[in-house]
């Protein structure tokens, strides 16, 4: 297998195809005048992503249009093994370009790809695809988006995986593809499975058992153990359609297509030490940078894994992702006696009610039954003395409000 990969672009056709697809991946990621959902194309090519997400979500999350390419790739794997790696995968092309012909030093002799693959599969069965961040398609996109449009610095941390393996590949050529890539392992597995099912499993027994013994309990721990779940702590709101905070962090494979598609910039890569490990570097709503537009559903249309479920604009408007809270001490109206009510002014849903002071100054009160947590109030709040006087608290479980 190493030999196949390492032979390099022997035929000019293959080299041309690979470079063209790499160029397309770069183009889609940088976007420019292209529609934002182009960023979804390459990450959604992965059949591993399709299967793991579908297992975790207990159902298909995408329509026929978005499910066809990964299914085609799946068939490709069944009959042609690593054809996807050798012809399509843009990350693979870059790894190939950076690799010398000869191995300078062995970084890892053990192949981790099987372990990673089975941990993803078994943890997905338990609802939390762990190590999903090592899915190969988002690897490259993360960095492309980061350099292209400027995702925030936190997105750089998951983005380090790709340059790290690019660097390691200089010593041990194609180390990612041969020793770490779970999707590549999936293709090998599929091809072997078709040829001799019994032999495949006996050969894979270590990886499979490790996946079972690590993946399942780890996923259960992520779901239920208090160490992973923090209770009653402030959490940021998640993009509308993320439904369940715990699962969202796991199903999201950090391609950041949503962050890049967000027109206002409220969606950003976040990081909170006090939050579960699965939520680290996930896309979160940060109203300091923008507000969730009422008639926008870009993030749900850009998401390749269904971590943000597809919603229509009308549905999205009714999803409560958080609830705003007024800090009266910081509030210009409650404490300083200013005529402000900017939160009310900006609230698209009329969730701010007015309480008049004795001197007739209007002061805001949030109606938690109407508030969606869109963050307009927080983003627009002009208070500076003690920071913003109205802050959105995210919901663990998003609610669909009645019209």
């Amino acid at each position: 297998m190493i030999r196949i990969l390492h032979l390099g672009p022997r035929s000019a056709v293959r080299a041309a195809v690979r470079l063209l697809l790499l160029a397309l991946a770069v183009l889609f990621a940088f976007g420019g005048p292209l529609p934002f959902w182009m960023k979804r194309i390459f990450p959604s090519f992965s059949p591993l992503s399709l299967i793991a997400s579908a297992l975790a979500q207990r159902g298909w999350y995408a329509g026929v249009f978005w499910m066809t390419p990964p299914l085609v790739v799946l068939l490709m794997g069944l009959f042609r093994g690593r054809m996807f790696c050798n012809w399509i995968c843009p990350a693979g092309t870059l790894f190939h370009l950076a690799s010398p012909r000869k191995c300078i030093a062995h970084v890892s002799r053990r192949r981790w790809s099987g372990y990673i693959f089975w941990i993803i599969i078994f943890s997905s069965l338990a609802g939390f695809p762990l190590l999903f961040i090592l899915e190969p398609q988002p690897l490259l996109q993360r960095d492309l988006l980061w350099t292209g449009r400027g995702l925030n610095a936190l997105a750089l941390v998951p983005g380090l995986v790709f340059p790290l393996f690019l660097l390691l590949g200089i010593f041990q050529p194609m180390i990612w593809c041969t020793h770490f890539c779970p999707a590549g392992h999936f293709f090998d597995f599929l091809r072997h499975l078709r040829k001799s099912p019994a032999q495949t499993f006996s050969k894979e027994r270590r990886e499979l058992l490790a996946g079972l013994c690590i993946g399942l309990p780890a996923a259960c721990a992520a779901a239920h153990l208090p160490g992973f779940k923090t209770k009653n702590k402030w959490m940021p709101a998640l993009p509308p359609g993320a439904h369940d905070a715990d699962q969202f962090g796991a199903i999201c494979h950090r391609c950041y297509a949503c962050v890049d598609s967000c027109p206002t910039g409220i969606l950003r890569a976040g990081f909170r030490v006090d939050r579960p490990l699965t939520s680290w570097f996930q896309p979160e709503m940060n109203p300091e940078f923008g507000a969730c537009e009422e008639f926008c559903d870009n993030c749900s249309r850009a998401c390749p894994t269904g971590a943000i479920k597809k919603t229509s604009v009308d549905e999205k408007r009714m999803i409560q992702i958080g609830i705003a809270e007024v800090n009266r001490e910081a509030c210009l109206a409650w404490t300083d006696g200013e005529h402000c009510m900017v939160c009310d002014e900006y609230c698209p849903y009329n969730a701010i009610e007015t309480s008049f002071s004795e001197t007739g100054i209007p002061r805001p009160i949030v109606n938690p039954e109407i508030c969606r947590g869109c963050g307009f109030c927080q983003h627009a709040c002009p208070a500076v003395r003690m920071g913003r006087a109205i802050i959105v608290r995210g919901l663990e479980k998003q609610r669909v409000l009645e019209g």
């Binding site: 206002t264 926008c296 210009l332 200013e338 002014e345 698209p348 500076v384």
Partner: protein
């Protein structure tokens, strides 16, 4: 109809004839239609269901009363395109009015028209859902999203300002041959009402500062700096509650355009569509005290016109 041109001669004649018997109630309904002219700003109140006809009449009146000055090459129009709301919801200036006005300006020889706006919603939604992007495009006028195009901000001093001493204003509003303000009248949770004077908040960079430093005073202060040649207030439909964004169930349809050269006078008149007295709107009382414009309806020449 009731369109009159007040010359000094007729003013003097009628003023002597009628004496000082002008103690009219503030409610606009109670205003006598035939009144002797007074030495104060003219306010034209144009009524009609057809928006193109309303603008047609407004332009006619404007050109009979000095128009845009000697050489109106460039015209900056300030609309209200702040919110992602449809035209019927009354949160933004009606797009039909904007198209008709811009076309009228072109016909009158204005060479370059531009609509700069610092919206509250993201421009991608505010400019499109309000229909104003299309309205401007139909009249071949660019809409500039000041939130993105920061290069236009310029600092200006406000020597007469009491709270607002300096402000960053988009240069198009200050460096133009003609400046026209075309806001929509509606309820406002913070400022009580928003009409012409408060519409300049969409022309400045740091609105938050205003809220921290006496909003009403800042609104009045800003009008000492930005003085439009004409103010046309869209009161075709007005939101009586839940402003400035709505959607409100509390709508009224006066089908009016209020046109004046004095933005304070236009606001003062329009405020009577909502309240009994201008006292309800603090920035109007401040404008009266600072003598920025006329707030006393009895001292204005209010012309009621049917379009």
């Amino acid at each position: 109809m009731y369109l009159r041109q007040t010359t000094r001669r007729t003013f003097l004649k009628q003023a002597f004839a009628s004496g000082a018997a002008l103690t009219l109630g503030p409610s606009w309904l109670a205003l006598a239609e035939d009144r002797s002219p007074v030495e104060g700003p003219d306010v034209w109140v144009i009524h009609g269901g057809d928006k193109r006809a309303l603008i047609g009449k407004a332009l006619e009146i404007m050109f009979e009363n000095g128009g845009f000055g000697p050489q109106p090459d460039t015209l900056t129009l300030k609309v209200n395109a702040a919110w992602a709301r449809t035209p019927d919801e009354g949160a933004c200036t009606h797009p039909e009015l904007v198209t008709a006005f811009l076309e009228g300006c072109r016909d009158a020889g204005v060479k370059k028209t531009v609509i700069p706006e610092n919206p509250c919603n993201d421009a991608a939604y505010a400019f499109t859902r309000s229909g104003l992007q299309d309205a401007a495009a139909r009249a071949k006028t660019p809409m500039i999203n000041l939130e993105k195009e920061k290069k236009y901000w310029k600092s200006f001093e406000l020597p007469q300002g009491r709270s607002l001493k300096t402000a960053k204003v988009a240069s198009q509003f200050m460096e133009t041959d003609v400046l026209v303000n075309m806001p929509v009248a509606k309820h406002h949770g913070g400022a009580t009402l928003t009409m012409a004077m408060k519409n300049w908040m969409g022309a400045v960079a740091d609105r938050g500062w205003w809220h921290r430093n006496d909003l009403h005073q800042c609104i009045a202060d800003c009008c000492t700096l930005i003085k439009p040649h004409w103010t046309i207030i869209d009161a075709t439909r007005i939101m009586l509650s839940r402003g400035p964004q709505g959607p409100s169930k509390d709508m009224k349809y006066p089908n009016l355009l209020v046109v004046s050269k004095d933005q304070v006078a236009a606001d003062s008149f329009t405020s009577t569509l909502f309240h009994d007295s201008i006292e309800a709107v603090r920035y109007l009382t401040i404008a009266r005290d600072m003598k920025i414009g006329e707030t006393d309806l009895a001292k204005m020449n209010i012309h009621r016109v049917e379009a």
